[in-house]
């Protein structure tokens, strides 16, 4: 760090202008993200503008966020980091930070303040769940259902527990092939108070209870592992309802005109953001930090919401959220954070899952295979 600062200072003194600046920075970046509409929104909202501002810089996308922890570990083992900036969910960011695979960030020093001068750490507030994590969006995992498959004479589903109600709402469901969220929903619908969910889940009986509840619908469940699967299954009419990320459902409903309705009850909030891998060379790090400062400022995060219905992570971005870039509809009502949608939400406990993920994964996978 010290070396960079000195270098930057001396070059700034000797050679004036932006060209000197550019010399210290690598002219290519590898950005890692999730692919699909989400990556597209990042590309349009900040990568394209950044590249336009900085001629000669190129950015390559790698759709490996799902395997980010594994790949970063292997890269670290080999001492050869090929990624510059990695988009991960909050829990992965914490894991990477714990293992020293992600760089700790001074949010106030490296990120732009809000337009009114509020320092970045306050603007992001509680969403900075780890020292290495730079939040971009708030998204939720929630349910969509086929409006045309709701049984005649019944109200459309309005509670997450309708997922477990095969009598009123027959048909297949799609759920993510992991214990997170599913176990909580199962306990909630088995009558556990929202505040007690994690206490109950900490016991063996609680785990059995959650699995037993999931067991009531097990043979009606299609398990997905990629975010695009539920929209496809809904569009095909393969399932009646299914969980996925809210932005995927938005794009199926608003952009593809599919007969799908949103079920916001007990939506599970989660965060997604950047981490910088440790072990980058000075010039690459300088480029990444320069990009990061631009890409996470108030306006850029608000711009991203034009392309996808995820809530910007900065408080100061919320008022700037406008209309969809091509459809011209107001985006605010489609945000998971919109008060109308956030009536009954589920706050997903990162710490708890960080501690218990391995155990529950083993039990859940064994249960699935039975």
């Amino acid at each position: 760090m010290k070396l960079t600062k000195t270098l930057l200072a001396t070059t700034a003194l000797t050679v004036a202008g932006a060209s000197a600046h550019a010399q210290d920075m690598a002219d290519s970046m590898t950005l890692v993200s999730w692919g699909g509409a989400y990556q597209e929104s990042q590309h349009k909202a900040y990568v394209e503008p950044y590249l336009a501002m900085n001629g000669g810089v190129t950015a390559t996308w790698d759709e490996s966020s799902a395997e980010a922890v594994a790949k970063l570990r292997a890269m670290n083992e080999a001492g050869n980091i090929t990624w510059d900036l990695v988009d991960v969910v909050a829990s992965d960011a914490m894991r990477l930070c714990d293992e020293g695979l992600a760089m700790e960030i001074d949010h106030d020093e490296l990120l732009a303040p809000a337009p009114d001068g509020t320092p970045a750490s306050e603007d992001f507030g509680d969403l900075i769940v780890s020292d290495c994590f730079i939040p971009q969006i708030v998204y939720s995992t929630t349910f969509g259902y086929r409006t045309d498959m709701v049984p005649a004479g019944t109200e459309p589903p309005s509670s997450v527990c309708d997922v477990f109600d095969l009598e009123t709402y027959p048909g297949k469901r799609s759920l993510q092939k992991r214990p997170i969220d599913n176990m909580e929903w199962a306990l909630y619908c088995d009558g556990v108070e929202k505040d007690d969910i994690y206490d109950v889940l900490s016991t063996d009986e609680g785990v059995d209870r959650a699995l037993a509840k999931l067991g009531t619908i097990k043979d009606q469940v299609v398990w997905w592992s990629a975010g695009a699967e539920t929209p496809q299954l809904l569009a095909d009419g393969e399932v009646f309802m299914g969980s996925t990320f809210n932005g995927r459902l938005f794009s199926a409903i608003a952009e593809q005109d599919q007969p799908i309705g949103m079920l916001w009850d007990m939506q599970s909030f989660d965060l997604d953001g950047w981490i910088v891998p440790t072990g980058l060379s000075e010039d690459r790090l300088a480029r990444v930090l320069d990009f990061l400062r631009f890409a996470t400022d108030t306006q850029r995060l608000a711009d991203q919401a034009k392309y996808i219905s995820y809530g910007p992570a900065r408080a100061s971005s919320a008022p700037l959220v406008g209309q969809h870039a091509t459809l011209g509809i107001d985006m605010a009502p489609h945000m998971p954070t919109d008060p109308a949608n956030a009536g009954n939400i589920h706050i997903y406990d990162y710490e708890w899952w960080a501690d218990n993920r391995d155990d529950l994964d083993a039990k859940f996978q064994a249960w699935l295979a039975q």
């Binding site: 890269m75 080999a78 050869n80 090929t82 592992s225 990629a226 695009a228 095909d236 593809q256």
Partner: protein, 391 residues
């Protein structure tokens, strides 16, 4: 082969057989319309009557077949819209052909004259069975083709598509493939990785195969087993191993890393095909060349190579397609800069379901058909030139 005399068959045989086939087709039409029984009876009566009419009254094949085809198409259209019309058209053509094929006794044309009716029946029963298996082989590939023209972004036959409504079709996925930089980059990566990998496996593989074909190689079986192993070891194990090992060598995420991995996977195919060709290779030819003063290099390129070239080419094709169609290893060993076509397709399936992958598939299948047909045509041509009669 003996030429069997083709003679018309009695109508008392033809009409019931056609009728039974008609009843079978009628079963489907009938169930689709609500009553299986009416379908079966209707199908039987209708087709048997047609057979009787065409074979005993009209006796003009061309007119009869046109009438059957168009008539059934019209009937289908009136009951089932465009799709029904299409089905009717196919049924009509089929029955028109079937009636005359059976009635004129053409079905015996290629069978020895002494075959008993039972043998004839078994013969054609077997052919039908094989037809069904071919159907099983080809249908999935044919089915994806229309889907690539889907106007929507999902892998589903929309009602518009089933009605054959032009609204339901579009070329947008093809447009996407040709304009989207990701797809173009992936195409380009595939086209730069596969030939290099093929080159490596073919050049190393051919040399080794020649070495292996010599009679006096020690540990021949063991060496062979090692060289074939990339084909045998489960891909996931190879991929994981290469991932960790190449990371350590700094090859992970580089062009050469992917090329080396793919070359290793392609080697067994080259070894297998080239050694197979060498089995039939006459060693006295190289000895003769050496006798006449050619050095080993000249002997190889002027004598041996031209003769084993077909094996080398087909091994090379296999190696090429292995690299071109490989997704597991490249997912592990490659990084964003080496994103190949199959990788992009895998993303297309997993992260952003998009029928663009079907458009790509259609293009690739079309290319394969062209390639395979060209190879077959060339083969026939060379056979003709060499004076071999096509068997």
């Amino acid at each position: 082969m003996t030429v069997t005399i083709i003679q018309p068959k009695p109508i008392s045989f033809v009409a019931p057989v056609v009728g039974i086939a008609g009843a079978f087709a009628g079963l489907f039409v009938g169930t689709a319309q609500g009553s299986a029984l009416i379908g079966v009876i209707g199908g039987f009566v209708l087709t048997a009557a047609l057979a009787f009419l065409w074979l005993t009254v009209l006796r003009n094949e061309r007119i009869a077949r046109w009438v059957t085809t168009l008539g059934m198409a019209a009937a289908g259209y009136l009951t089932g819209g465009l799709m029904g019309g299409l089905v009717g058209l196919i049924f009509g053509w089929l029955f028109g052909w079937f009636i005359f094929w059976l009635g004129e006794g053409r079905y015996r044309a290629k069978l020895p004259p002494y075959t008993t009716p039972m043998q004839v029946f078994l013969h054609f029963g077997f052919r039908v069975l094989c037809g069904l298996i071919f159907f099983f082989l080809i249908t999935p590939i044919v089915v994806v083709m229309p889907l690539s023209f889907n106007a929507q972004d999902f892998f589903t036959f929309t009602p518009e598509m089933l009605r054959l409504d032009p609204e339901g079709y579009s070329l947008k996925h093809y447009r996407d493939f040709f304009t989207n930089s990701d797809w173009q980059q992936a195409m380009w990566n595939s086209l730069s990785i596969a030939p290099m990998a093929t080159f490596l496996s073919v050049s190393f593989g051919t040399l080794a195969a020649i070495g292996l074909s010599s009679e006096h190689v020690p540990f021949r079986r063991a060496i062979m087993a090692i060289l074939i192993s990339p084909m045998i070891v489960p891909l996931i194990i190879s991929a994981a191993g290469m991932y960790f090992f190449y990371s350590r060598l700094g090859l992970q995420g580089t062009y050469w890393g992917v090329v080396l991995a793919h070359a290793a996977l392609g080697i067994p195919f080259v070894i297998i095909t080239v050694t197979a060709t060498l089995v039939g290779f006459d060693r006295s030819l190289t000895r003769a060349a050496a006798n006449m003063g050619a050095n080993p290099v000249t002997t190889f390129f002027r004598v041996q190579m031209p003769l084993i070239l077909p094996g080398v080419i087909s091994g090379g094709l296999f190696a090429f397609i292995t690299s071109f169609d490989e997704v597991v290893v490249v997912l592990f060993v490659g990084s964003a800069g080496q994103k190949t076509l199959p990788w992009q397709m895998f993303i297309g399936l997993r992260e952003q379901i998009s029928p663009t992958i079907l458009a790509v598939a259609t293009i690739l299948v079309t290319l394969s058909i062209l390639l395979l047909s060209t190879v077959e045509l060339l083969r026939r041509r060379s056979e003709r030139l060499r004076g071999l009669s096509p068997g």
